[in-house]
Symmetry: C2
């Protein structure tokens, strides 16, 4: 007999968890919509070639491949068998291995589960460029799969909530995305969160000033670790990566830039004085800050973080990261601007900017800070007790009316003991239990029990709906 | 360069398609909730052993398998290489083939994409039996994958919308599910649809009366084809399947049962007079009909179809199928009662009943009959024209107010030509375009254009929100 279990790193969701997750998704979706973003979906499987080579070597290793089925698989088997037969009897087992792995497995697994929503979105924009209107504002909330080693908070299947706009380099979108961070997290009642912002052009400027433009990635990766490992170790890493001593010395003054936003921007502007791209980065940042200052945010702190780089190499302008206060959980959102995401699929020079909400991390934050709305676990409004065949036949039309009025409602399926029925109602987080037995039918009345307060009322049946509506 | 395309049989969804699909899903979900069903989700991947052997040979072949990744895959490679080395140089290629296929591929693909929502649900109920309350009413709206040959209306990835209750054999749930069929399709404005109902016990009774109880599946499959191939060919098929001539003669009178529901039930009851199980089936049907007659349906015709069997062998009580009138599309919904779904995972004797909505088929019906609500393609309420840097800086706080009032709204990202901006607004199905240029700013006014009617009004800025709210 098959054991009831699921693959490592995957999850089932119970109704209560679903309600909480849907509360997060619905909140995010509503804000995305209000800002003019439209929903799209892409298939779980992409062609393997679409995904491979986009996430670095480590990423490639984490892509789940899906085996061909049916005739195509049969043909591949026949091919393999044929090729095996061609091999000299003096078999070279390494050659055989290569044959099986490269020839067979690679072809047999020509589809793969998407690793993120960004690459499929780039593929989508190119494929449907004649069906969509640019600037194209889309949101996408779908699961992605990564064969990562499962651990607390890291799963092999998890949802991403991405919102991007492609086809415009207007900074108004940076402003809009900051507002979206703010509004989503404020609506979810996170009272303490920081939106960090930087600009990749500033990082390019730093590399330029250092004199080691080619080392921008190494420099970026190293200074991204400043918070974690401190300035000395960053210097060591820079040197280890082959950044010249002189260049490192030119970078070091950065590490001590401090003060409020204005102080830091001014110091950095001076530092980047000889870098056109660096100054452009500062200018973009200033524009965004100025517009946000005008508009105000509900709750977020917008913080300039000149060493914010994030892992992804394709950012070319703004870089975002959001951290929640009061909990020891990594960043809960991120994003940035990329100037050539669709280039890999043959549509160059389309600038875009986007952000992503980490639903699982936000869930963990909400859980830890106990931010769930009170009525989220109340899964049903009304349950009618079942007193037997005649009584339930009498109740059904009333049940129908209650549902038609928009309440979620049901009748217990059999005339079980009242305790059992109440236990069921409790477990389901029911708000009101309605009892209509023999006597009530005769008198045209109903007993209604408020499950939270424990109080009970005897109503005329005619008043049932208005009672519920006013409750 | 990677070509922008997706695997055969899969689909991308454009925003307009998403809006339409979400309209169907949201309608279904709202009804499920109102009837007290709770949402769950299961992972896309199940263990291969959970799925194999549950859908017949044909089904097994259609299951997409997912390759192991990382260390586990490496270990399997090493094992394979080792085994290959152990083979005598006089290689038996069939043996080698078996080794690769059975040893390697089967172990390398120990997870698979779910083929439907029913088997994962059975697995879920058993796995979480201590975390859920019985009767457990759940709904689940998620994609499934089948390696079917793609063709019009048949995809390799498609959504199923399932609603089931397990842990009770009460016929009140049959009644409730019929109401759900009716309410969902009525809400979607399908004016003409038929819910067909039968009971597997009647089919068992027929087999019993024929004297060939062991042949129930063959008899069921054959009489299921009555509409398609006619009574003579059904007889031929029965004989070909080894049903005795005498037994066939005993079944034949069934084919001519006609008249209204009462006539047919009466004729069938007489036919099944010597079958306890058959009579039980009739009694169950009568109860359901009587309760539904009391309650009334919004729009559906509930039709007794004594030859309705459907493919699935696990139904043990009610069998449902829904067909839409006015279109040449197969059944759009189906379902039934099963007494032992969870038995395969070690929890026997749990009765359940459930139905499934075919979202893709319903989409096709809605498309063909043009049943989409008018405002579904209106993806955004308000777009502000961008007249330049100063003007957009002035507009942003107003944009913020419009969004805060619950409207979806945006500003065009750059001061492009007005025609281009209007074209964008049109393509996005925008309801109102707001123009605030230099003069309007001076006068504290706004021009607002109703995109559907083409009319235009000049408002005081203070009146903008109330104008939109009243529109």
């Amino acid at each position: 007999m098959a054991k009831a279990s699921i693959p490592k790193g995957t999850r089932d969701f119970l109704p209560m968890e679903m309600n909480r997750r849907n509360y997060i998704f619905d909140t995010i979706r509503a804000v995305f919509k209000r800002y003019g973003y439209l929903p799209i979906e892409t298939p779980a499987m992409e062609k393997t070639e679409t995904l491979l080579g986009k996430y670095g070597e480590e990423g490639d290793r984490l892509i789940f491949k899906v085996l061909q089925r049916g005739d195509k698989l049969k043909k591949l088997f026949a091919d393999l068998k044929q090729k095996l037969k061609l091999i000299d009897k003096e078999i070279d087992f390494d050659q055989l291995n290569v044959l099986i792995v490269n020839h067979f497995l690679d072809q047999a697994a020509d589809a793969a589960l998407r690793y993120d929503l960004t690459v499929p979105f780039a593929r989508y924009v190119v494929q449907h460029q004649n069906d969509i209107t640019f600037p194209f504002k889309r949101y996408q909330i779908q699961p992605v799969w990564r064969a990562d080693r499962p651990q607390k908070g890291r799963y092999r299947e998890f949802y991403q909530c991405d919102v991007d706009v492609v086809g415009s380099d207007s900074l108004l979108y940076e402003v809009e995305l900051i507002q979206i961070f703010d509004e989503v997290l404020y609506t979810l009642q996170l009272s303490d969160f920081t939106i960090k912002i930087n600009n990749r052009k500033i990082l390019s400027g730093i590399a330029e000033v250092s004199g080691e433009v080619d080392k921008i990635i190494d420099i970026t990766v190293a200074i991204d670790k400043l918070d974690k490992i401190g300035p000395d170790k960053v210097k060591d890493e820079l040197l280890a990566k082959g950044v010249g001593e002189e260049a490192v010395e030119r970078i070091v003054p950065l590490f001590s830039i401090s003060g409020d936003r204005e102080d830091r921007l001014t110091a950095l502007e001076a530092f980047l004085n000889n870098s056109e791209i660096g100054k452009k980065g500062i200018e973009e940042l200033k524009t965004v800050f100025s517009l946000i200052d005008d508009l105000g945010l509900q709750n977020a702190t917008l913080e300039f973080d000149p060493v914010l780089a994030r892992g992804l190499n394709y950012y070319t302008g703004a870089i975002f990261e959001v951290k929640a206060g009061g909990v020891n959980i990594g960043s809960i959102c991120g994003g940035g601007r990329y100037d050539d995401l669709t280039g890999i699929f043959g549509l160059p020079n389309v600038s875009g900017v986007g952000i992503s909400f980490g639903a699982d991390r936000i869930y963990d934050v909400m859980e830890e800070l106990n931010l769930w709305p009170e009525d989220l676990d109340q899964a049903i409004d009304v349950i009618f007790v079942n007193f037997g065949e005649n009584e339930s036949r009498f109740v059904l039309p009333w049940l129908k009316k209650v549902r038609a009025a928009g309440f979620s409602a049901e009748i217990y399926p059999s005339a079980a003991k009242i305790q059992k029925q109440m236990k069921y109602a409790n477990a389901k987080g029911c708000a009101y239990v309605v009892m209509i037995g023999d006597n009530e039918i005769k008198d045209g009345r109903a007993l209604i029990k408020n499950m939270q307060e424990g109080s009970q009322e005897n109503l005329s049946l005619e008043d049932l709906l208005s009672y519920l509506k006013e409750a």
